[in-house]
């Protein structure tokens, strides 16, 4: 540990950032997080975490496994099954100018 002087507010931000990182890892590992438990775990950040956790949980809530990654790949030729308001049913044809869906 170096003894560089940083002000308490800055130190607090750094610590909170580390906690957020830790919780993000847990979320991404699929661990369900209980807000009450977390507040007990990190009482010094109770208020901040209560504000941030819903957004973090939602962000991390899609399955992290590669099979369901990014776009839904239950798809045709690697395309997402849905594009905006459209659902892709099948590939119609493929030619020099592109692919028709």
């Amino acid at each position: 540990m170096t003894t560089q002087t940083i002000n308490p507010a800055e130190k607090r931000v750094t610590e909170l950032a580390v906690v957020v990182e830790r919780l993000t890892s847990r979320l991404q590992a699929g661990e369900p997080l209980d807000i009450h438990e977390i507040v007990r775990e990190y009482p010094q950040f109770a208020e901040e975490l209560t504000g941030l956790l819903p957004a973090m949980a939602a962000l991390a809530s899609l399955p992290g496994s590669s099979a369901t990654s990014g776009v839904r790949h239950d798809s045709i030729g690697g395309l997402p099954a849905e594009l905006g308001d459209y659902r892709i049913l099948r590939e119609v044809g493929r030619g020099g100018m592109g692919i028709v869906y």
Binding site: A55, S61, G70, G78, G98, I99
Partner: protein
């Protein structure tokens, strides 16, 4: 767990440097799923009729294979961030080529910067969990979150997409952004705070 032990990336890099062809192949192949995810997130859906995202991944791996020797020699950054950089460049080129060519047909409502697919994807994620305000209808939520994201400074959006959508580690995110892990942590926190603030003020919920 009784299966064969999977050598980690470092070991594969070692073996690949020694000219082991199988290690080279495996090194690239094991990152395919992550690349697929990244391309899926970054891929502009306006390109979907013309380009197959899987092809982008395939071409990235092919290009990486050609460049692998030079990479192994210099190792300017960690392996996955390097691979990702190639994919990013291919996507940038693709977007430029296709979307500039058809600029007139592109909706003006599409936000600049992050492809709309990314914003959508992030919104999906926000909605998939315990939505911050359960009272709102899903569709309204979707629009709200999307707008909130578009309001975020690019800096904030970038780091959230890397960390939460691409699921890069702090260290990998730092490599991609040319930053330090400490800075990435704080930047992620700030971005989350701003996202939360935008959602809270815009919502004005009962």
């Amino acid at each position: 767990m009784s299966g064969r032990l999977e050598p980690d990336t470092d070991h594969l890099l070692e073996a690949a440097s020694g000219g082991n062809a199988q290690a080279r192949g495996e090194l690239l192949e094991r990152h395919r799923a992550r690349l697929q995810r990244m391309v899926g997130i970054r891929f502009d859906r306006r390109l979907a009729a013309r380009v197959d995202p899987s092809d982008v991944v395939q071409e990235t791996l092919a290009e990486a294979s050609v460049k692998l020797d030079a990479y192994l020699h210099e190792r300017p950054l960690a392996f996955y961030p390097w691979l990702r950089q190639i994919a990013q460049q291919r996507l940038t080129d693709l977007h430029r080529r296709h979307l500039l060519a058809q600029r007139r047909s592109v909706s003006r409502e599409e936000p600049a910067g992050l492809p709309s697919e990314s914003a959508m994807e992030l919104a999906e994620r926000l909605l998939a969990g315990e939505a911050p305000s359960a009272g709102l209808r899903r569709e309204e939520q979707r629009v709200r979150v999307r707008q909130a994201l578009e309001q975020l400074p690019e800096r904030d959006r970038d780091v959230l997409v890397l960390r939460y959508l691409e699921q890069l580690s702090t260290a990998e995110t730092a490599a991609v952004l040319g930053s330090s892990p400490g800075a990435v942590r704080v930047r992620t926190l700030r971005a989350l705070q701003r996202l939360r603030d935008i959602l809270n003020t815009r919502g004005a919920r009962p």
